[in-house]
Symmetry: C2
Subunit: 499 residues, 2 copies
């Protein structure tokens, strides 16, 4: 077993180095690289090297040997070996040439997607979407087991243990409970004068407020980088190199505020992984939904709370004194929680957000089971936006081309956003038993809250399954009712309805 452990560690050292290259090139492509530079050949070679290492006979035998002795290993290593067995078995089912060609296809697709979106021209991107869907359908056939088939293969990869059945039930419940609430609210106005929101907020001022928020969240320049990109995202490599991006709109200053808090939620998770786990293959977050639970917890539950604005409004007013003359903290609270069916997911309010996810979930499901084809995406998108959100989609740019995920081949990713939001409410409920959360927010720092999250969730990194972390943090299994209760309670109160 000692020899196997050496081979395992040695291979992972190389795999981690290749993952570092992957992180660097991804960060570079999204923030820095000249637009017409092209490193596809190098990226393909790197992906091939990674494939070869993970599927080599030597590594495979070492992992199998460690798996046979898994009960003699530490908990962290045992969990890693279980994941490694699964991962190399799955990878071996994908022929290397298809694996590499698919990676190259995604690299080419990225630029085409950006162009298609800018021109609002779905037809430009269609041949690529078709190829990605074709690959994904083949992929699920390769990976199918007695337990998992079709789209479930992808759902389980993004969030272990999830399936169409579970998501169908989850979304049905959301639909049942939230749609009536949204209908009641529809057309109602929150009682405040929102004219201050139509004023000009300089990018420089927005950046100053973002910088202030970095201090609140505890982002130090020692271990973090902040940049701009078209779509805000979080990247990084290990807990000491965490990078977030943002964008700034003169006509929507709250967008950059909440993008910043959201991405810092992801970053905070990465930074609080324990040192012991950070250096292993289990560094980083436990799953997409768990990651999203952290960003949406910080963005929505903390950042859109009344206490948040009561504590931080003065700083915003200091930066924009003329715009905010006569405006109150409560006005900001109301503005940041206004619910309205709208076109763009990333700008959606907390209440209607999951309807956006449901549209994407249905389309993914149908694409994977062959019920629709890539060419049907725009019409299905527009039909579902009308059905779920009651709105007409004027263009593909604001419609089915708004998100990059499918162009990155990420089918099965979207539903984790809704699940993560639900995790966040369950976590919030548990946190309140230990902490006076509103009082913590009023200290002006998130540190008490972050300490709780570190102890209950962050420190484990990916060394446990998300469901086990959720159970550890909250004392119970996933329960979507916390999400519904939170939203119904908050929005009924906001809009003066009977809860």
């Amino acid at each position: 077993m000692q020899k196997s452990l050496e081979i395992y560690n040695e291979t992972n050292r190389k795999l981690k180095a290749l993952a570092y290259c992957g992180f660097l090139s991804g960060w570079d492509i999204n923030t820095e690289m000249p637009p017409k530079a092209n490193h596809e050949a190098e990226l393909s070679a790197l992906s091939e090297m990674s494939y070869t290492l993970q599927t080599s006979d030597e590594y495979s035998a070492a992992v199998d040997d460690l798996y046979a002795h898994r009960d003699e290993l530490s908990d962290v290593l045992k969990h890693e070996i279980e994941a490694a067995v699964l991962s190399k078995q799955k990878l071996k089912k994908v022929p290397m040439d298809e694996y590499v060609e698919y990676g190259a296809l995604l690299n080419r697709f990225y630029n085409v997607y950006v162009e298609a979106k800018n021109k609002s021209d779905f037809a430009l991107a269609l041949p690529y979407y078709e190829k990605v869907v074709e690959f994904k359908r083949k992929y699920v056939l390769w990976q199918q087991t007695d337990e998992l088939s079709g789209y479930d293969v992808l759902l389980d990869e993004f969030e272990k243990g999830t399936s169409r059945k579970q998501y169908d039930e989850f979304f049905a419940l959301l639909k049942e409970k939230l749609v009536p609430l949204i209908k009641k609210i529809n057309g109602k106005k929150l009682p405040f004068d929102d004219s201050f929101n139509k004023k000009y907020y300089s990018e420089e001022g927005q950046k100053r407020f973002q910088e202030y928020l970095r201090g609140v969240v505890g982002f130090t320049p020692d271990h973090t980088v902040v940049k701009e990109s078209e779509h805000p995202f979080t990247s990084g490599y290990g807990k000491t190199d965490v990078r977030i991006t943002n964008h700034f709109y003169a006509d929507n200053f709250l967008s950059s505020v909440y993008s910043a808090i959201h991405e810092m939620g992801h970053g905070m998770y990465e930074m609080q992984v324990s040192d012991e786990v950070d250096k292993t293959m289990s560094g980083g977050g436990a799953s997409m939904a768990m990651h999203e639970s952290q960003s949406r917890f910080l963005e929505n539950i903390i950042g859109r709370s009344k206490s948040f604005w009561e504590t931080h409004f003065e700083k915003l007013k200091e930066i924009f004194p003329e715009n905010l003359d006569g405006v109150t903290a409560n006005d900001l609270y109301l503005l940041s929680n206004r619910a309205e069916c709208s076109l763009v997911r990333t700008e959606a309010d907390e209440l209607t957000y999951s309807l956006h996810i449901m549209v994407r979930y249905e389309i993914e499901k149908w694409l994977l089971n062959g019920q629709i084809e890539a060419k049907d995406i725009p019409s299905e998108w527009n039909r579902l936006y009308k059905e779920y959100l009651g709105i007409d989609v004027p263009s593909d740019k604001e419609g089915c081309l708004q998100d990059v995920h499918w162009a990155c081949g990420d089918f099965g990713y979207f539903p984790t956003y809704a699940l993560g939001s639900a995790y966040a409410s369950q976590i919030y409920h548990a946190m309140q038993k230990d902490l006076d959360v509103a009082a913590e927010i009023r200290t002006g720092s998130f540190s008490g809250i972050e300490k709780w999250l570190a102890e209950k969730i962050h420190r484990f990194g990916a060394s446990k399954d998300p469901k086990d972390i959720l159970f550890y943090a909250t004392g119970e299994e996933f329960n979507p009712n916390y999400y519904i209760d939170y939203l119904v309670g908050k929005y009924s109160k906001l809009y003066g309805l009977d809860a």
Copy 2:
């Protein structure tokens, strides 16, 4: 041979991917990475992977087979194979653990060097300098041949065919011809009112002029990136991804102008490599001296010419109208050519520049032959600055810690700067036979000059030895007298001396 060619290409595809990672991490570390992030483990693993590929039996046999059949290959490939044989033979003489440990040492050294420089504390960096010198001494013993010993091993690696003997003669000639001229000039003032140089030049304005110069040089944003860093440098990967950095001093606005032109000279070389060569292992410049010849040609011979300021002064005046009120193009010409013995190499004028190089050359030579030790660097540095340039060095920050090269293990690099400057004059002499260079400059674009350089030098990339390229471009072997004639002619005229 077909099989060997396949193995050769396949290995190089991976080596190029690893080189791309090396470029990305270098760029990231110098411009972007959070200061306390640390990716040493990943960088070591990558360097090990590169070592393993280059020293594998399979690759080695393939290269030897291709070498045996080299006369059947294209000129580009033949040159590559000759270089590959030499390179893998040399690498095999370095034990892998020492190779990797040395790379890790350099990674650690970088941050220590920055701290030592900022604190002007040589003692902080000394243990690292000692280890680097120790490795370099071992390295030259490993690589010694009948033809090459000691420091010559390193000189030959930086510029094929150069040796102590050649450099000693070259520097002796420079000393003989330039030092008397410098003495004559010493204390003389150029006839212009330089008070405009003491005014405040905003960073924003300096950036605008740099942007304007990018247009003059033909840098398009499609394939280039421009950033800031403590020391300006050029980086990139292939002709379609060229990156330069700059710094801005409010009290020395010409510094950023000439740093920009210098780095764009490097970048222009990279961008003009032929498509055919760019994709091979012979992409990039032919050698350090040839690269430096291009940057110094553009910076000094073109950028510090009278025609340059006659053509571009108006733009500078448009950006800084108040500072330059009453100032003429000729004033800028004089300011940018003022000769003065000074402390810092990168800010040195064209005439005294090579004296700075000579100091470094002597110290390197003595370190490698054991005449002095790392601890003697500051005292020898200060002694030689007094002897060659007649000035006292007030601190190590402005003295022996001013350059990062030795902290990067680059012994043998500095002399190529002087050689490159001399190449530039020889190239200029040849160019003037084909082109009216002053008239070209006055077109407002460097494109005619760049076209000549592309045809004579750039397109070959590293597919020929530098001496062959110099011969092709100028019709003769290296002749340092062009450099001396150029400097003596220009400075005698400037300072009103008899040439």
